[in-house]
Symmetry: C2
Subunit: 179 residues, 2 copies
């Protein structure tokens, strides 16, 4: 399929309601169980998505527009949610995520980005030159990688329960490349 900014925004707009529909009414056991050791559960993942809304995508987009390749993005803190989500309920996190995402999309639409803007470059701390277009596409794909992860983490809880069906369920074969 072709890809463009409208498609990216359309997907970004759907994710909070998707995760809300999936998680809000589930028993805690579904939401708080992980894949063992220090792997993430669905609650952790929503916290991680909120942190991205606050510190990653739009701040980096603004940095590209303002400073181009003369400044390197701040590294993303992949463990921030352990601190930020402490004491909150899943419902609070889902509300917070939806609120930040809606505000960010309002800001993104208000930027009225041109094709020239989208071709502007920035510097990622690990892999160097990227474009604003790639950053925004990654924002959407990052939603999908965590939806993929949540479905895998939840399916893992039923690995024994499904008995011989395990080998017919692709998600049970997924080795966790989406950490």
């Amino acid at each position: 399929m072709e890809h463009n900014l409208d498609y990216t925004i359309a997907l970004l707009a759907c994710t909070p309601a998707t995760l809300d529909a999936l998680l809000r009414d589930l028993p805690d056991a579904w939401v708080l169980s992980n894949e063992g050791e220090r792997s993430w559960n669905a609650f952790d993942i929503i916290g991680h998505l909120i942190h991205g809304e606050k510190t990653d995508w739009m701040p980096r987009a603004r940095m590209i527009l303002e400073f181009g390749e003369s400044r390197t993005f701040e590294p993303f803190d992949r463990l921030a949610q352990e601190r930020d989500s402490a004491g909150k309920s899943l419902s609070q996190l889902l509300d917070e995520y939806a609120r930040f995402r809606a505000a960010n999309l309002d800001d993104l639409r208000a930027m009225k980005l041109s094709d020239d803007d989208l071709r502007k470059g920035g510097v990622h701390p690990v892999f160097g030159s990227v474009t604003l277009y790639q950053l925004l596409a990654t924002w959407a794909a990052h939603d999908l990688t965590h939806l993929h992860q949540i479905s895998r983490v939840m399916a893992h809880q039923y690995r024994d329960a499904v008995g011989p069906w395990t080998k017919f369920l692709g998600v049970m074969q997924c080795a966790g490349h989406s950490s």
Copy 2:
């Protein structure tokens, strides 16, 4: 996590609204693009889920309760959606899926299954003896395997768009074990 019938029903109740929130408002390009050749797109997958509601899960549950291991389940037609979804819109399919699922869950709750019922066995055409408990757990895990698949199929569309971020996105490494 422990697993039980209440957890299974809770998850089964969330899936139609989850897929509705994800897909209903997206441009067709997201919904109709696949992973190449005869692989499934999101539209195909919703059709497949509907066929399961009609012919797989509850008919097999009733067969176990009525006939136990004296009858083998009908094989599931994995291509039925090509016929059944023809000429329908995604919105129609999402409505149909939600309607069948809600009716099936009403029926399932009305069965008031006991632990003895859940231990009853049936015969799968490929791998033989299964229990009613395993069948119902698989119904829920099957939702998750297709949510996992849809997120992968959609992310695939942005494989080029994300540029160097590809290697940081787990979903882009998923080789498609969830066919």
